[in-house]
Amino acid sequence: MANFRRFRPDDLNKLSKCNLDPLTETYELGFYLQYHAKWPALFQVAEDQHGNIIGYIMGKLESSPDVYQFSEHYLPWHAHITAVTVAPEARRLGIGKLLSEQLETAADANNAWFIDLFVRSTNHKAIAFYKSMGYSVYRVVKDYYGDHSSDPTQSSEDAYDMRKPLKRDVKKEHVRDDGEKHEVDPSDVW
């Protein structure tokens, strides 16, 4: 039912199964193309037998600017998952996991220390999913989101910055067990 391959710009004409889902954000063209241009191996898609995109992951490789090198919040060379989405009809087939694994492979090939991502602290389903794949909470970014997904009375929501160490991090220096206890401000997040 599915093929996994790199994203190509023409896929933007086949995104409806994913992007008409209210949980998936649609960005400007330049945003998608930037990922395809800079990190083509980290932008992977799953397509169905008719060429419709039923899932995709967008990732990038980066480190904090050198000027932050001595900051405690400095991020060394790592991969970041910007977006991952699976069409409703293709859920519960492990497509998200396969896409994440492919991004890990690409990140390892690029000698990254770890992969990180941000998730709403109340999105328990997603947090459990990432934990099942070896991610752990590295820190809590207070009031990172300007709205709350489940409580309309609140004006903000915390984010979990979750990480998974890669092959380069043999000593697991870039993850911690008690990440939930480390709180930072959004301004500390690069």
């Binding site: 933007l12 086949k14 945003f31 395809h36």
Partner: protein, 1005 residues
């Protein structure tokens, strides 16, 4: 200058004094001019003169603004290497002109000249970037080649691959002269062959070697080989142990494998495909820990298809089965997605097996291995959201005997085997979908000589005489689906379980019922190019029932986008544009998906309800803005990002995508719909269509591309017929032909509406008048030829609705009539062809007028009003045609009056026959417009009458109190009767009223 910010004001050299620096950064241009002039006179440094010119370009006067172009031209002529800081200033100052002038004739060569003189300067890359931003491939290639030559021994491979990539891009670009093309083709191929040989022949490659090392470099090589090399070279290279796709796969890189597979499929190299897929799939079995990395469905399908085309088909398919067996034995270790791929691969392979192998024993007629495999697949996956989509293409291939066995033995057995209530309703829903699917398969009918005209076939399932689809079977499906739907609604336990399912089974049941009723109503694919509105020949009651039923379901499952898209189309068809818009908005179609999804709502919208766009461009503004943002630069978006990171395959795909986006049918549709809406309400169109930057690349020879995404439409149809979107759409989808005709029509209107600026007072008015006349004739001649050639393309009639065909034919005739009219003066002989042309125009208009008043079949309990409300498209084109005729005639008559006033001798005024014909056209069109206006008025009055809600319900369900037929009864059950339909009827009515109100405000003169 930084990338993507070329409009940012450049910094002046640090040696420039603070006073001038400050004036420049403050934009105090008069002061800058004065100071720069002073400095130039004192220091004799031409840089200050450049600053002065640059500042002058910011003033309002045309001469001041253009001074920079003169300065650039002078630099180009000097043949000397220019100063880079001066170039930066000039590039910034001329930014507004650079869309109009050719960068490759001006700044590109200057930058190239500078780089050749300073090849080791770090600023050389900036020059390359600048040339790329203006997509001047000629200069960019020369700069990259110069950089490669300079750094050939430096170990920096970046310049080598930039040079190769740019040589390749140039070789396939229209910017390349035909004389140079062969040289570039050969050059790029040789460069890459050399690099490939280095890779093949080196024991160990260093990162500084000039071989192919990264996946991107290797893929670039194969792309070039595919374009400029021979098939044999490609086939030889893919066998390479270092550069072949298998080696890449072993390293976890799949891109080359897919590209190779595509190339081999295009060439029909089935034996090689078989070997490649076999080896690729077997890679996963080599290690102790199996890998499913290559177990993509495409690989399996290609493997099975290639096997079925092998000389020894049986042995090859046996090999496929062996490989599959190995994977099946380790399937438990696979991810759910790969398990499913393997299961479908098994189905695929079974369907590729030769017929004799598939013959069942006489005791089990129809229960062939194909049927057994489908049943095994469904046994595991029947409750999954995609189960139907996964098997539908296979079920549609079954013979009647197989289908019968499947429907009458396999599915009932599954119902027995899965007795829990939830499984039962899911299976029943699946059963209904499969039954519907089979009604779309021609093998389910047999030829039957019949006395009844048109019924020469017999349905093999129900034995009734029928055409496709079998009406009896459709009715049966509707009743079964309705029963199951009601069963679910009445069972609290089931209702409680639904949220745990992939999908609410009622949604599928409603879709089956809805599409079956649409078919019963007579909504089918267009049978001929001159078909009237799609709803003219349908049973309105049944059509309304289908819409009502689907609308009711949407209230239950509002997040289902497939159903929502279907309803948007149906409401547009019904003429309820405002209600369709209400359904469209929550899908939040925006930004990068507008190109593919925008047409699903916006195409032809002004012919249904221009009032939606009236008073501004709010609806289409986001669509146009998305193009303006994405196509603002001449170069493909993010191209420098791809160059700077060495993503060579991305460079090629970004270039292809950009070229396609600039030729998008949706882009043309956006520009046209906006202008039609503005014109409809007498608004002012800002600029001629040719002057719009977004239309800059569109000429007659441009192939405009439609990329509408129908992927989310629910589609229960088999491959034997058209998908659902093709018969619920108002007319044929976007096309090159329609886009060009609409674009040319706008150009025609631009000629008619052109007015010289008020302050334009030519001194030699007679000379100017002659030139104007010649210019108009030239434009009309070109337009007439273009319109005629597009109208007469063999595909054109099938790309347009009937009113569109008439409209564009009339525009084509009008352009010819105007050409003849304006070129025939009083002194010329009477124009013989003019009367023929005008009489064709009059007949075409009469035809459109007549189609507005087509009488309703007397058997239907509704007046013309339903058909008129659901066919505003025809009314719209009748109006547009009449207006086009009126404006054209007025244009000629005004031209004549102007000539009479200008030239007292009367020699240049138009021939009396021309004037007479135009006056006649004016009369005919005015009369038609009056009638059409009256038609709208009468619709408005009709909708203003009382009792509409009851009338709508009567149209939908028939007279109250009368016995309902079984289909109506089934629908009534699902929608909770007439009471449940009242709110819906109110919305439909309101939308019609709003639409007609919008038409009421349109301009009619």
């Amino acid at each position: 200058m930084s990338s993507y910010a070329r409009y940012a004001r450049p910094a002046l050299k640090s040696s420039v004094d603070v006073q001038l620096q400050t004036a420049f950064s403050d934009g105090n241009w008069n002061l800058v001019i004065r100071l720069a002039d002073k400095r130039f006179k004192v220091l004799k440094d031409p840089y200050y003169e450049a600053i002065k010119i640059c500042a002058e370009s910011q003033l309002d006067g045309t001469a001041d603004k253009c001074a920079v172009l003169v300065a650039i031209d002078e630099l180009v002529r000097q043949k000397a290497a220019p100063d880079l800081d001066t170039l930066e200033l000039y590039e910034w100052a001329s930014a507004d002109f650079l869309h109009g002038i050719d960068y490759s004739d001006a700044l590109g060569p200057l930058r190239t000249r500078w780089v050749k003189a300073n090849p080791k300067s770090p600023l050389a890359v900036q020059c390359l970037q600048s040339c790329l931003e203006y997509w001047d491939l000629v200069s960019a290639q020369q700069i990259a080649a110069a950089l490669d030559k300079t750094y050939v021994n430096s170990g920096d491979r970046r310049y080598m691959f930039w040079s190769i990539t740019l040589t390749f891009l140039l070789s396939i670009s229209p910017q390349c002269s035909e004389q140079s093309r062969n040289v570039y083709c050969m050059l790029v191929l040789k460069q890459l062959e050399r690099a490939a040989d280095i890779t093949e022949n080196s024991a160990k490659l260093e990162l500084t070697d000039r071989g192919l090392i990264t996946e991107e470099e290797i893929c670039l090589y194969y792309r070039v080989l595919l374009t400029h090399g021979t098939k044999e070279e490609f086939l030889t290279r893919i066998q390479s142990s270092r550069l072949g796709p298998l080696h890449q796969l072993k390293q976890g890189r799949k891109l080359l494998f897919w590209e190779t597979l595509t190339a081999l499929e295009n060439w029909g190299e089935w034996d090689r495909i078989f070997d490649l897929c076999h080896q690729a799939l077997s890679l996963g079995l080599e290690d102790e820990t199996p890998s499913f990395f290559t177990c993509d469905l495409r690989a399996w399908k290609a493997f099975a298809l290639a096997a079925s085309k092998a000389k020894n088909e049986e042995a090859a398919l046996g090999e496929v089965q062996n490989t599959l067996k190995k994977f099946i034995s380790i399937k438990s270790k696979a991810n759910a997605m790969y398990k499913k791929n393997i299961s479908i691969a098994l189905l695929e392979t079974t369907f590729r097996l030769p017929k004799p192998i598939l013959t069942p024993s006489p005791d089990h007629k129809g229960l062939t291995p194909r049927v057994v495999q489908i049943s095994l697949f469904l046994d595991h996956c029947f409750d999954k959201l995609s189960a139907f989509d996964d098997v539908k293409d296979y079920v549609a291939q079954l013979s009647f005997e197989e289908a019968k066995a499947f429907m009458e033995q396999v599915l009932p057995k599954m119902l027995v085997d899965k007795p829990d209530k939830l499984s039962q309703v899911i299976l029943k829903s699946l059963n209904c979908k499969l039954q519907y699917l089979l009604t779309t398969c021609p093998q389910m009918l047999s030829h039957h000589p019949s006395m009844v005209e048109g019924n020469n076939y017999q349905c093999r399932f129900c034995a009734n005489l029928s055409s496709l689809p079998c009406q009896h079977c459709l009715k049966k499906i509707i009743l079964e689906a309705s029963d199951t739907y009601m069963q679910i609604g009445a069972d609290k336990e089931l209702l409680k379980s639904i949220p745990r399912l992939d999908k609410d089974p009622r949604l599928d049941l409603a879709l089956v019922m809805g599409t079956s009723i649409l078919k019963l109503a007579g909504l089918r694919q267009r049978l001929s190019d001159v078909d009237p509105s799609p709803l003219r020949n349908v049973n309105p009651g049944l059509f309304l029932q289908a819409v009502l039923l689907l609308d009711t379901q949407l209230r239950e499952t509002p997040s289902d986008t497939g159903l929502r898209l279907l309803l948007v189309q149906l409401y547009l068809l019904l003429g309820c544009a405002t209600y369709a818009h209400q359904l469209w908005v929550p899908m939040d179609v925006k930004r990068s998906i507008l190109d593919a999804l925008g047409p699903l709502f916006f195409d032809r919208i002004t012919s249904i309800s221009p009032g939606l766009i009236q008073g501004g461009r709010s609806f289409l503004e986001p669509v146009r803005m998305s193009y303006s943002t994405s196509l603002a630069d001449n170069c493909p978006l993010r191209i420098w990002d791809a160059f700077s990171t060495g993503s060579f395959s991305s460079i090629l795909s970004l270039t292809e995508y950009d070229s396609r986006l600039r030729r998008s049918c949706t882009l043309v549709m956006t520009l046209i719909e906006e202008r039609r809406a503005i014109r409809c309400y007498g608004g002012k169109i800002d600029s001629e269509i040719d002057d719009l930057p977004l239309a800059a690349d569109i000429v007659d020879s441009t192939t405009l591309v439609n990329k509408t995404d129908y992927g989310s439409f629910p589609n229960l149809e088999s491959l034997h017929g058209l998908p659902i979107q093709d018969f619920i759409r108002l007319g044929p989808e976007l096309s090159n032909e329609r886009a060009h005709l609409s674009f040319l029509t706008e150009q025609y209107f631009d000629i008619l509406s052109y007015k010289p600026p008020k302050d334009y007072r030519p001194v030699k008015s007679n000379e100017v008048a002659i030139r104007e006349r010649n210019y108009i004739l030239e434009c009309l001649d070109r337009l007439s030829n273009s319109l005629t050639s597009f109208i007469h393309l063999p595909e054109t009639p099938s790309r347009l609705t009937s009113p569109e065909m008439t409209y564009y034919s009339v525009i084509s005739l009008l352009s010819a009539a105007l050409l003849t009219g304006i070129s025939t003066t009083k002194a010329d002989p009477a124009p013989k062809t003019l009367q023929l042309v005008t009489s064709s125009i009059k007949s075409a208009l009469a035809g459109l007028r007549a189609s507005l008043t087509v009488s309703t079949p007397s058997s239907l309990p509704m007046g013309d009003v339903f058909f008129s409300l659901s066919d505003m498209h025809t009314m719209s084109y009748a109006r547009d045609t009449a207006l086009a005729i009126k404006h054209s005639a007025a244009f000629v008559l005004a031209f004549h009056e102007k000539e009479v006033a200008r030239d007292r001798s009367g020699k240049s005024s138009l021939h009396k026959d021309v004037v007479a014909e135009m006056k006649a056209l004016e009369v005919v069109s005015t009369k038609a417009l009056g009638e059409i206006k009256k038609h709208v008025q009468s619709l408005k009055e009709a909708l203003g009458e009382g009792g509409w809600l009851d009338r709508m319900l009567e149209w939908t369900f028939g007279d109250e109190g009368e016995a309902e037929d079984e289909v109506t009864e089934a629908v009534s059950d699902v929608v909770d009767g007439r009471g449940g339909a009242e709110e819906w009827a109110g919305k439909v009515l309101e939308s019609w009223r709003e639409g007609v109100k919008g038409w009421g405000m349109a301009r009619w003169d």
